[in-house]
């Protein structure tokens, strides 16, 4: 019997191969992981603690944005959502991490 639950079946009418299932993270998956659902990598620590000051990392790992897109998101959070401005070096590190791991090709979309 063929494998179900794979890409095309779960996807919508367009982008059928996008394979976006659901950000179906459970508590178990996050247990014992230092940075929750965020993948390990250069800058994960700065990113995790900056983001989770206000909101869950689960909202971050669902997104797919270019570095420029993430930069605008930070601008918006600083201007309108009460986020403290990170220093430039830290900001660059966070953007590098997000652009490397949560870009528009969604390499780490939860449970793809």
């Amino acid at each position: 019997m063929p494998e179900f639950g794979a890409a095309g079946l779960r996807a919508g009418m367009t982008g059928a191969c996008l394979a976006v299932a659901v950000a179906a993270a459970t508590a178990q998956e996050r247990d014992g992981r230092e940075y929750g659902l965020m993948v390990e990598g250069e800058g994960v620590e700065e990113t995790y603690y900056t983001c989770t000051a206000c909101h869950s990392e689960m909202i971050v790992v669902q997104q797919g944005k270019t570095r420029e897109g993430w930069d605008k998101t930070l601008d918006w959070m600083i201007a309108e959502q009460g986020m403290p401005e990170p220093d430039p070096a830290e900001r660059a590190k966070i953007l590098d991490y997000l652009a490397a791991n949560y870009n528009t090709d969604r390499p780490n979309f939860p449970r793809r």
């Binding site: 063929p2 689960m58 909202i59």
Partner: protein, 430 residues
Amino acid sequence: MTSNRSTDELRRLLAEDPAAADLALFGRVSHADRRGFLRGAGLAAMSTAVGMAIPYHRNIPQGFIPAAMAQGDPLAGKLGLVLLSDRPVNAETPPELLDDDITPTDRHFIRNNGVPPEDMNPETWTLTIDGFVDTPLELSIADLRDQFEVVSLALTLECGGNGRAFFDPPASGNQWTWGAVGCAEWTGVRLREVLDKAGVQANVVYTGHHGADTHLSGDPGKEPISRGMPIGKAMTDNILIAFAMNGADLHPMNGAPLRLVVPGWPGSCSQKWLTRIELRDRVHDGEKMGGDSYRVPAHPVAPGTEVPEEEFEIIERMPVKSVITFPANGAAPVTETEVRGHAWSGDRTIEAVDISTDFGATWMAAEVDPPLNDGAWQNWRASVVFPMPGYYEVWARARDSEGVMQPFAIDWNPKGYLNNSMHRVGLQVA
């Protein structure tokens, strides 16, 4: 046992009489300074509840709920929902769990923008109606029940971003697939009657809604969300100020103890933990009314287009859509099966639902029930015969009372709203 009690119940008990509640819940007796655990009484119970030792237990004040317990399970009282985010809490329902004609409370999705209020006490809750009204009102939930007709209606709520997960390039926000929709039975009073009692002045064009939830940043001066709607819409008979859901109190994550229910419009119009409705002489300017929030370009754009802010317009009604709730995607039915689901179209009714089992080459009409009431989704079903075992997909396409059908492709927009493209399920027919 503490573990069997809801966080709300804990809070209620501890608010009423902290010392008595401490004793009842944890077997705890505090020192004379109302801190710590006298002779260790109750410390073991609290340590068990949080799962480990509490080194600084001597400092814990009377009537204190450890954060590990207060935080609790974000999906308490929900069954089978998929958690998209736990702060703020957002969770959707897999399509096959939306099979009921009326969505049970434990299957109804959650879309939060901020932190729910700690105090959801229906006895002390008040709703203010102000702005351009003849008589501003302050009403308790008991006042609402006493002064207005109490009605129960099945009403469809869908998040404006339902289906965002399938946008390419990706759109920012919670990556909802199909399950940010539900049709529960809501009980409350008609918004129109309450506004009539306050006396809507001639210059009113828009409502502004306010809730008791707090901003994620912790800034008490910021509201997490405050949206509104044109006054003409607000005076529709099927909009409720609701205090019950499926015959019981509202679920805390669905806005207890009081919320708006505005069927057929983005769920964000249906303010949760509702405290105030202001009537305005201009479009509301609350949080998530501007920018690209709940707004789409006024004209179609190519996927990935950067759209200037002035070209956006506010989303009003939600488009025609349907969902297949049986069989589940990936199921293995025999060669004859019922296929069923729901269909809806904001401010309209569904005229037809067609089903295809051959990738859209041919279509057959499903049987479609009338809505239970204005604002309810419509249930549909079809008997499908597959000619031989193998892989099939069932596609469903609804058509509404204006003749508008669900599209095949997504009308891409920058924030991923209004995806009403057809739902399909894959079946391994045995």
